[in-house]
């Protein structure tokens, strides 16, 4: 091996009292994050959550098997309410994913240093949420084995091509671009930290682990020339992901807004959907991270002030969503369109009134608690409130989809919607899928962006001009 010089006399005098302090601080961050993946036995609570998640995933696999083998007739969808839980869940999951991109890209561009403690976990959440979301339109087609028809592939069917002017095609492109970008962005951020894991395992002689982590670390050396290009690429990716995240939920909202159905056919949808997406996504980040930061002792990395900041974002976006609800009603009245008016009166007081009031109370009233600093310091309460926000945002998508379809132009077509156990089963399954992946991520990968946290520490600027 290499030979080492103890540069005794030459450097002793250049040393100051602070020697080693900065390095110790960096080492602490590495240890605080890496121990989760290095602990010989997983945490009991982690095992319990993973167990529950696997059971839910099993329910989902069985339900999806039935849906594919029998057809989507096993769902509660009907000719009238032709989009129901499936599309509700799709929009809900995609929206949750958006907070991850917002944290990793938008907060990066706006130089919000606090994002470094949560961006890795939030980006992982994005990927798993988009995976869960993608299942629903795929199953909704009824014949998922023909899903490749949505890709512009030369084929034997008279060279039949997809209809690119359909918002559903826009969805295909937007969601797949979003998933690709999220995965690449996330992986790129992971590489320096995977190199950390590689080197720690190599130092301990865990050769197999070192090799696996090393394979994915791509031989990262942390050289300044590599960092230079890496940082440029990271900045540009953040710049690309920002318009992308806004476009994705806008395109999702076009699925509704470009139709003629009262309650869907409104220009407010793109900003309204994006605000709702950020709202629900931040709630999901807090739902996941508040317990995990306790379990894995990350309180000094994911600090209370970070939770404060996220609560404030939830409050702000919650009020944007509330403004959108009000604007919809105002426009229904102001447009003078009787169908539009009817759609909104029926939304609030029609057969799904309970869903509408669940939505308004969870999305507009519940976040008002975050005005209080006492609430923002009470993590258990925040967690409960965030669960309510998640429920409320699910209901928002359901209200938009089901109430509009159930009461469209023709009274003879009016109908009600009741989910079947397969609707519930597939939804539960995607929650299981999401949690399973998230738990595995938390156990085996660097859950905090170690190198980014180090970069924003005060010690990162230490030792300047001492010579």
């Amino acid at each position: 091996m290499s030979t080492v010089d103890t540069t005794s006399s030459a450097t002793a005098e250049t040393h100051h009292d602070e020697s080693g302090k900065a390095r110790e601080a960096f080492r602490t961050v590495t240890n605080d994050v890496a121990w989760i993946a290095e602990a010989p036995k997983p945490h009991k609570a982690w095992l319990a959550v993973l167990g529950v998640a696997l059971v839910m995933l099993g329910i989902g696999v069985y339900s999806i098997y039935t849906v594919i083998m029998t057809g989507i007739g096993v769902w509660g969808n009907s000719n009238t309410v032709c989009w129901a839980w499936d599309i509700t869940n799709f929009v809900w999951w995609i929206g949750i994913g958006h907070a991850g991109t917002l944290i990793s890209a938008v907060l990066y561009l706006t130089r919000q240093g606090w994002r470094t403690s949560i961006n890795r976990a939030a980006e992982a959440m994005t990927i798993f949420a988009v995976m869960a979301a993608g299942l629903f339109p795929l199953l909704h087609t009824g014949r998922p084995w023909f899903a490749w028809w949505m890709l512009p592939v030369p084929n034997d069917m008279g060279s039949l091509w997809p209809q690119f002017r359909s918002p559903l095609m826009w969805d295909v492109f937007a969601v797949s671009t979003y998933l690709t970008t999220s995965v690449l962005f996330w992986f790129m951020g992971l590489v320096p930290d995977l190199a950390t894991f590689r080197d720690r395992n190599a130092a301990k002689g865990n050769n197999l682990k070192a090799m696996i982590y090393g394979l994915f670390a791509l031989g990262w050396r942390g050289s300044a020339r590599q960092w230079h290009r890496y940082e440029r690429a990271y900045l540009i990716l953040a710049g690309l992901a920002t318009p992308l995240v806004f476009s994705v939920h806008s395109v999702v909202s076009f699925d509704f807004a470009t139709s003629q159905l009262p309650g869907w056919h409104t220009t407010i949808f793109p900003p309204y959907f994006v605000a709702g997406a950020i709202f629900s996504g931040f709630a999901m980040v807090l739902t996941l991270l508040i317990p995990l930061r306790y379990l894995f002792n990350l309180q000094h990395i994911i600090k209370q002030e970070h939770i404060h900041a996220m609560c404030k974002i939830i409050l702000a976006t919650g009020m944007m969503v509330g403004l959108a609800y009000g604007t919809e009603f105002f426009m229904a009245w102001y447009s003078g369109n009787p169908f539009e008016k009817f759609a909104f009166v029926s939304r609030a007081f029609g057969p799904f009134w309970w869903a509408y009031f669940a939505m308004v109370s969870c999305n507009v009233l519940i976040p008002q608690f975050f005005w209080s600093k006492w609430v923002r310091n009470n993590n258990k309460l925040i967690w409960v409130l965030c669960i309510f926000v998640n429920i409320g945002m699910w209901f928002e998508r359901f209200v938009i989809i089901a109430t509009s379809l159930a009461r469209s132009f023709l009274p003879s077509a009016w109908s009600y919607y009741t989910p079947t156990r397969y609707d519930v089963g597939v939804f539960v399954g995607t929650i299981g899928l999401f949690l399973t992946f998230f738990m595995l991520f938390f156990r085996y990968l660097p859950v905090v962006a170690i190198s980014e946290v180090k970069g924003v520490m005060p010690e990162a600027h230490a030792g300047k001009g001492h010579h």
Partner: protein, 428 residues
């Protein structure tokens, strides 16, 4: 192990490979930047700094040129934009035009969302893969990885590595430079002494070969299927969706005595809303014979009032449905007979207003029936014109007959002076 003097640039002592370079550790990021500037000022080029995170100011200290990556990404984005538009144009406007209500096959606004997404997608792919390519990664092995100290770069170490290939490299002099720049430790790094031992584990090689071969199987099956013929029908994965147990309306059906799948109305029943009990209104019959009058009421109970409005309605319907053959005057000289005449034919439409012909003498009910069900070559208009409008046409035809055969006595006295020439052309 402080003595490096014995081996120079190319010495290879026992247990050591060829010298690759020197690694020096610094205490803080700031000291690393200062040291990097000194190394650069000393004229070194084959050196690099290693740190757990991007150190602020190091690019300028080392003299790193700005990467061309942004330009590449711009090129990627532009390719994505043009490619996205071209793809949509080729598929939807050129190769397979969609005719939807006669709208143009190419309209840019509806193609912008996908062009936007492809722009982002290709930019992102260029940024991601371009960055790794410019960084010459993946490179799983590097001589510095042999150093335990280098393993701490991803944790807490701030290192400068100077490679022995540098023109100015001189073991002692370079080491002294690094120490003078504030290093807390300096070590030399060597290449692997015996590269032949550095082979991939056999099981890993076997795994890669096996999985590559395995991955080719579906491709091989697809290639075989595309290049061979089979008399077997397509394989139906879910046959119950392709062949559903149901009858279509024109298929034979053994379940019924008449062998038809399509079932008619049951004898002695009338569909809801099809009773049509009012003989006069629906059929023009009164006591089994054609009525000479008009219905008393509409089916919804309103009184049947013959007024100016109804006559105007009749005129409007007549002008739409009847004039092509019967003409605006009802004299049978519409556009169709005129064209027949032009082509040398002899057919003419019936003259509705000729006092010597029989139409003028038909009862109202028979006229209504003719409009409903047709007469000779005239087809029935019952499917197109509702009963109330048919009655309006009957009234208008009656008005036409009266007008075409009117005399001056039919004009109210106070209107006679308004007549052109004081007389009426039709009053023979």
């Amino acid at each position: 192990m402080s003595d490096h003097g014995s081996h120079g640039h190319d010495d290879v002592p026992a247990g050591e490979g060829k010298l690759f370079g020197l690694l020096a550790e610094y205490d803080t990021p700031g000291e690393l930047v200062d040291a990097a500037r000194k190394v650069r000022d000393a004229g070194y080029t084959d050196f690099d700094c290693y740190s757990p995170f991007p150190v602020h100011g190091i690019d300028e200290a080392m003299g790193i040129k700005r990467t061309i990556l942004p330009l590449l990404i711009f090129g990627g984005g532009f390719t994505g934009l043009v490619g996205g538009i071209a793809l949509q144009w080729y598929c939807n406007a050129y190769k397979w035009g969609w005719n939807i209500s006669g709208k143009p096959t190419w309209s840019l606004p509806a193609n912008i969302p996908i062009a936007f997404e492809t722009t982002i997608l290709i930019s992102v792919l260029t940024a991601f893969f371009g960055m790794w390519a410019l960084n010459k990664l993946p490179q799983v092995w590097h001589p510095f990885f042999r150093s335990e100290r280098f393993g701490r770069v991803t944790d807490d170490a701030f290192l400068i590595g100077i490679e022995s290939d540098d023109k100015r490299f001189d073991l002692e002099g370079t080491k002294q430079l690094l120490i003078d720049a504030g290093a807390i430790a300096v070590e030399s790094c060597h290449k692997d002494p015996d590269l032949s031992k550095a082979v991939m584990p056999k099981w890993l090689l076997a795994l890669i070969v096996a999985s590559t071969a395995f991955a080719l199987i579906p491709l091989a099956i697809a290639a075989k299927a595309r290049n061979s013929k089979s008399s077997e029908p397509h394989y139906h994965i879910f046959p119950d969706m392709d062949f559903q147990p149901k009858f279509k309306s024109d298929q034979p059906n053994d379940l019924f005595a008449d062998g038809r799948s399509n079932r008619g109305e049951i004898d002695g029943t009338i569909p809801r809303g099809s009773l049509n009990a009012d003989d006069v209104f629906y059929r023009g019959l009164e006591g089994g014979d054609w009525t000479h009058g008009f219905p008393k009421t509409y089916p919804d109970g309103r009184e049947f009032v013959i007024d100016d409005k109804l006559v105007k309605r009749g005129q409007n319907r007549f002008n739409i449905y009847c004039t092509p053959c019967h003409g605006y005057d009802g004299n049978g000289n519409g556009a169709v007979p005129q064209r027949v005449k032009l082509n040398g034919g002899a057919w003419a439409a019936r003259n509705l207003v000729d006092p010597k012909a029989d139409v003028i003498r038909m009862p109202n009910g028979q006229l209504f029936n003719t409009i409903s069900n047709g007469y000779n070559t005239m087809m029935g208009y019952g499917a197109q014109i509702p009963q109330s409008d048919r009655w309006a046409i009957v009234i208008y035809v009656r008005a036409l007959e009266r007008a075409q055969n009117a005399s001056l006595d039919d004009v109210p006295a106070d209107q006679r002076t308004n007549m052109p020439g004081g007389t009426m052309g039709g009053g023979k």
